[in-house]
Amino acid sequence: MPEHKIDATKWIDSYSDYLYNYTISRVSDSEIAKDLVQDTFFAGLKSMKNFKGEASERTWLISILKRKIIDYYRKINSKKGKAEVRMSYSTDSDGEGEWLEERVEDKSYKNAEDTLENTELSVAIYNCLDKLPQKQAQVFKMKTIENFDTEIICNELNITASNLWVIIHRARTALSSCLEKNWY
């Protein structure tokens, strides 16, 4: 009898945000990221029997997700390969200025270092969020990441505003000291 019982119905609540966050910084398209996360859960279901419980469930899911992301890039790259790439280096056939514009650095494109830093920071924040009691993490996420109004959160979770602020305060204090240890 396996000691590690996997409850797949809890996966979405426990890991979807973490996985999504991990994906979005690597594929930078929210729809594709959602699909990849969903695919990861499906793949996880299929290979549940092979999960030996040596790593945490989250680590295991991340390793599946990594492969999904690589597959995704392989797929779009093979499509790219089929397209014809034409590059004209002669200036006379091009309109004036075009040549330069084509080659100028795209400022909106984050450089690898930026992406890496942001990725790691948001993952670090999620790691710290995971250590909080579930309620605190939930309220903090709604208030800080989803930017819901206090009123909406209170209605949804059936708490008073002063309750909310107490929870937020505890969450922030805990997160602060957690990040202090692991990040800053």
Binding site: T9, I12, K34, N118, I145, T150, R172, L179
Partner: protein, 79 residues
């Protein structure tokens, strides 16, 4: 003003929900209270870190859709 009140204003300020008078009172408080000053700095650091991290999370609608799909898949697997 008590430290408790000060920390509440400080929390609200992280979400731009504090009033001008509250902020003024808070400023005066941390002139004398080192502990609150430190807490305020930490709190602000956290806000900045979150902003900088561009952290995201899935909306509840997407999550419930995902859950439905996953449960369906689970059922299929058991059959």
């Amino acid at each position: 003003m008590s430290c408790e009140e000060a920390s509440h204003i400080c929390d609200k300020a992280q979400y731009n929900e504090s009033t001008f008078w509250e902020r003024l009172k808070f400023r005066t408080h941390i002139l004398f209270c080192g502990l609150c000053k430190k807490h305020s700095a930490d709190n602000h650091k956290l806000t900045e870190a979150i902003k900088q991290s561009k952290i995201v999370c899935l909306d509840s609608k997407t999550k419930s859709e995902m859950k439905k799909c996953l449960e369906q898949e689970l059922k299929n697997q058991k059959l």
